[in-house]
Subunit: 335 residues, 2 copies
Amino acid sequence: MSLAVWTRRAFVAAATAWAVGIAGCAGAPTATDPLPSWNEGASKKAIVDFVAAVTSNGGPSYVPPAERIAVFDNDGTLWSEQPLYFQFLFMIEQAKAAAPQHPEWRDNPTYQALAAGDHLRALANEKELFQVLLAANAGMSVDEYDQRVRAWLAQARHPKTQRLFTEMVYQPQLELLAYLRTNGFKTFIVSGGSHEFMRPWAERVYGIPPEQVVGSFTPLKFEQLGGTLTLVRQPGMDMNDGPTKPVGIYRQIGRRPILAVGNSDGDLQMLQYSTQGPGRRLAVIVHHDDAVREVAYDRQSHIGRLDKALDEATVKGWTVVSMKDEWNRIYPPAK
Amino acid sequence: MSLAVWTRRAFVAAATAWAVGIAGCAGAPTATDPLPSWNEGASKKAIVDFVAAVTSNGGPSYVPPAERIAVFDNDGTLWSEQPLYFQFLFMIEQAKAAAPQHPEWRDNPTYQALAAGDHLRALANEKELFQVLLAANAGMSVDEYDQRVRAWLAQARHPKTQRLFTEMVYQPQLELLAYLRTNGFKTFIVSGGSHEFMRPWAERVYGIPPEQVVGSFTPLKFEQLGGTLTLVRQPGMDMNDGPTKPVGIYRQIGRRPILAVGNSDGDLQMLQYSTQGPGRRLAVIVHHDDAVREVAYDRQSHIGRLDKALDEATVKGWTVVSMKDEWNRIYPPAK
């Protein structure tokens, strides 16, 4: 996978109208329902039936707790991804901040477009765009970068909702993660985003610890920097997206998941890989069809082509979640 | 890191005299001692004091359970590594088995040396040796390779001890792993060996699940093989050794360990990285000085140079474990 694909996906909705809406008609959760933000319907039933089956000791579909591995994509699956991947917004801010140290960018049309917020124009020269972004997000220690991520997330707000980005996670998914863990599952993120952008908040927000975050990887070197041996970020990215998601799962988890949740073709191979194993499996696709409370971008998560994962879902009987119809709440209350 | 270094380390002891001895003078373990195979002494005291300090709630060195990350090298730290890394013995057997499909190897002096068991001669042309080994250990699905690993480990025996390789783990380390977990630590392997060679048995033998094994990584592609989409092994290896061990820790664990255990310069940077963080830290080096019960190779774990980690241990006050003096038992009872 190339960074090009990642960026192209990131930029898809630059021209998409954004519609905001929070928690339209959330009913009062009942004490016994672990998934109160999920309306009764096909998706909720598929999930609850699956969990009941694999946890039913002595039943034909029983799976021991150690093998109850659940993997979740992040962008568009656990939190929003429009109008740009949030990590992308952060990396662009890093580039702007680094501009004084890069006089060679001054007359560079790609950088000028970035600085002006014209993301589609910036994308006209992908190669140059990557060079700018990767240069701006490398060269420092992982500890310094971690501080930058935390500082940005603590104050940056979404251009339309004005929420902190970490408050744009999906409430129904928070409930699903907790429900799975209550039932002995180990929950992992398997994302095209980077480890270092997710780990600082994934434990607090999702209950997913750093060692259960699988992402795209920035090359590192353990070397002297400012008199200290430290891990220094190198310009580059080992992508964890599409066909490399099963590779990332094998590398970092080492067991085949029995439950996989995604939303786009970046997740297709992860869904294929997870459902290939023996025994009962569940694949879930979050379908972005809610123009009022989020964005109805349907299968246009890539520029220039339509996601095929929804077609494969039809053929294979995967569970497709209509955000519009099956989620009675999108985001948790803002703080 | 290159595979060359890995191989050179593997071959170091080809000419080393091997001395076998099991459980010389194991005293009867007391009911209250979690480390009965460790003699009373400086190393045991350092470990027990460290664990007491970081688990003492309210104390100045207290560490919350989630951050009690302990990392262990495998070869030479959790199990023996002489006369060759055991994974190497397996890979050589794979090359012999694959020879009929590689007529081009027939007149190749490197392959001839391998087939004859003359490992030092095989190493004379490192580049060719890697090509042979990597070619023989690639091209199949990860599932098929997993079956080969399991089949080999189930019957292959160590040339000197005649034990199964999985019975050449160190009994004192099994106790240490269990002791740490009892005290809320999460235990990880961080090895120059490959994930796929350790995971099939690490959970059963060490109590370390697949997702807590960090190793050198064989490149994979998710592609069609025999009509099925599967993960196919590619010739190559992304080494997890020396300066890349902190990188592997960052990538797969995402927290800085507070306890690191190794035995050679392949572990030096892991020990440096782990001890750099704030608060109390412990670095432990297993010193191979027992010529009777194992092999006294001291600091010669690489061909042609001496490990420096023991020097750094002296300077920094790291704990050096004399296998000869501090372990009253080397291996668990054979089955």
